[in-house]
Amino acid sequence: MFLKKQLPLLVAMFMGTMMIIQFFIPHPFSKNVYSTILDWLMIVTAFTLLIAVQSTVQMHITKIRRKVTDWQSSVIVLTALGITVFVGILGGAYAPTNILMKIFPNVQPGSDTPLMYLYIYFQTPMQATIFSLLAFYMASAAFRAFRARSFDATMLLITASIVTIGRVPIGQFFYANMPEVVEWILNYPSMAAQRGILIGVNLGMIATSLKIILGIERGYLGGGK
């Protein structure tokens, strides 16, 4: 019981309290503790990522085994993942590893790694394209959803239109001071709303963090006994 419930709550309480106290102690030792804990956090996070990857791989293997609909997609995912991890771990991330330089003598310490080729010529173009694809769907959704049915909806419609048109040369073609109008909207009424929301978000974060540190909020421990 202690290992299952009390210990995790004590760990969260201890670490949370320590990090708050550390913030108010301007001493080199305190700064050292902060950077050490930050490194520890990154290490533990790396292992949690591995669990996530294991879960994804397991799901795709199950799909392939059971030959469910579209199981071929899972083969593509696993192949792409396997090749990327293989070249990434053996070849290096930002600089080539010694293993890669031994296998390919023409690869120099400053050369691009195979992982960077995958990143630049596969991942980046596809990610940018998928995000740019959303422009079409957002425009079509806006066309269907934006109706000046009420005062608030009209305000949303007008602001979105001004900010969209004002950021391109055609805006200046309609009205010479359009960029200044956009700047004013972003700097004053829009900023006011975002500031109000941000104050609320920060207050919420403080309240939730305190609840977790004090052991009132325990949802992160998951269900079960």
Binding site: L7, P8, A12, M15, G16, M19, F24, D39, L41, I43, T45, A46, F47, T48, L49, I51, V53, Q54, I76, V77, A80, L81, I83, T84, G88, I89, L115, Y117, L118, Y121, F122, Q123, P125, M126, A128, T129, I130, S132, L133, M138, A142, M155, T159, A160, V163, V168, I185, P189, S190, A192, A193, R195, G196, I197, G200, N202, M205, S209, Y220, G222
Partner: protein, 201 residues
Amino acid sequence: MAISTSIWIWIAALLTLSIYSFLYKDNPFYKFSEKILVGISIGYTVSIYFHNTIIAKVWNPLVHDHNFLVIVPLILGLLMFSRLFKGKAYLSRIPIAFVVGTGCGMSIPSSFENLFKQVQGTMPQVFTIGNIIILIGVLSTLIYFFFSVEHKGIIGKVTRVGITFIMIGFGAAFGATIMARISLFIGRIQFLLGDWLGIIS
């Protein structure tokens, strides 16, 4: 300019086109590219974590610098794998509590800092129309999100003003998001017509 002869540019261009083919309808080319993106994204993250964290922060300190303190987060990390064993899955709560507790402890001072910065920015040093708009907008937005009091009477009127400000904020955010997506689209078209086909310089 001429059409590109680089195989990498051709790969990037064909993957870009296969994703744009979704604008017509869902098809095998799009599905193929989508799955490749999923696999490569996960693989890339794993590789970066492996080199930046496992090698740089665990292997090197432990093997080369003999810093045995690293064993503590290593054990905590390994405890995450207890989730794979049914009877011992509860042990993974300890590293989760470590991550959550530390994150909360770090977020409280930084949230207070952000909060005070926002409050300070709201306080007008000079009474200009813009500063007064910000003051009214922030207060009315905050009152709109305050649900402990019923939104009736004077509070109701103030919340109406708050909703108007929120709508302007959302409209501006929506417009900015559309423009960000459009600029990505322009970037992809420039890549296809310039880097790949060599039609534009």
